[in-house]
Amino acid sequence: MAKTEHDILDDAALEAFFTAGRADTPVPSSDLMARVLADAEAHQSKPRPIARPAQRRSLLAGLIAAIGGWPALAGMATATVAGVWLGFAQPDTLNALAGGTLLPGATETGYELEDLVPSFSNFGAVVEEG
């Protein structure tokens, strides 16, 4: 027997059932959400480390790195200062510090030119003879 209009619902009536069905959609319990999230965390791969971009080095930074970094630079600075100090220091003071071993018998302060360049005393004669 063919269905009559009375035997089936029209679209509006059927839509009312769908509306009721949508309103009755189950809401996940907090327990289910926790279980799903726990699974997510358990199966998640570790974050990939992000490669740091290569940094451009300044000329000075490159130089410092070439000689071995800041500790080496500090050593060089110390040596430089020591050298300057030795250059300016009074030799007799140095002699005194050395216990008179460097210039035995020296009584005068400072060096004469001939002390440093013994051959210089003959230089005048050479010039005169020339």
Binding site: L32, M33, V36, S45
Partner: protein, 195 residues
């Protein structure tokens, strides 16, 4: 907790799943919030309203999503479509195992309290709809449920069922006609008087 984007943001499920695969914990939370309710709703309707079993299926389907995430290629498939496909298979397996048990006897609500209150009427209607859905052939149930209760589009349903969009339209139309016939007999008890 600070969130860069909420569950309603424009970030696609696709992008979130890739972010999850790359170790983004926030993406896991957003995907869970977004997808679990839809998966549960679909599972429950496919399983005749069995809440506990629907929760198990939901957890299993989401677990498969987490596992596939590292291999997920953005833009190839819709996450929800993929999930519904998985849910459909899981539900089919469970319904098959139930064979021998009268599914309708589980799903049919204890309907002994005529609804004087509108809320009760709505609940009764929802239960009557579920009972009617249970009687539809499986593919019609999938099509009608996704189209009219979940709000999925016909192309999405076509992807879930591996059929053409035209076939989905045909399935949905047949499913609706069957539902209309099944529910007509309950018109009066559910608050639809004779017009």
């Amino acid at each position: 907790m600070d969130m860069a984007f909420d569950a309603n943001s424009d970030v696609t499920d696709d992008a979130l799943l890739v972010a999850y695969g790359n170790g983004d914990r926030e993406a896991a939370m957003l995907l869970t919030t977004r997808l679990t309710p839809r998966v549960l709703g679909f599972s429950a309707r496919m399983l005749g309203g069995d809440r506990a079993e629907a929760e198990d299926v939901t957890q299993e389907a989401m677990l498969r999503l987490w596992k596939i995430a590292p291999e997920w290629r953005q833009g190839e498939a819709k996450v929800t479509t993929w999930l519904f496909h998985v849910v459909r298979n899981l539900c089919t397996d469970r319904l098959r195992k139930r064979r021998g048990v009268d599914i309708d006897s589980i799903a049919e609500p204890a309907d002994d309290a005529p609804g004087a209150v509108q809320g009760l009427i709505d609940t009764d209607r929802a239960q009557a709809l579920q009972a009617a859905l249970n009687q539809l052939p499986e593919r019609q149930r999938v099509a009608v449920t996704l189209r009219h209760l979940d709000g999925a589009t016909n192309p999405e349903i076509a992807a879930v069922l591996d059929i053409s969009v035209e076939a989905v339209e045909s399935l949905t139309a047949r499913g609706k006609r069957a539902l209309a016939a099944l529910l007509a007999g309950r018109r009066e008890e559910l608050g639809y008087g004779e017009d």
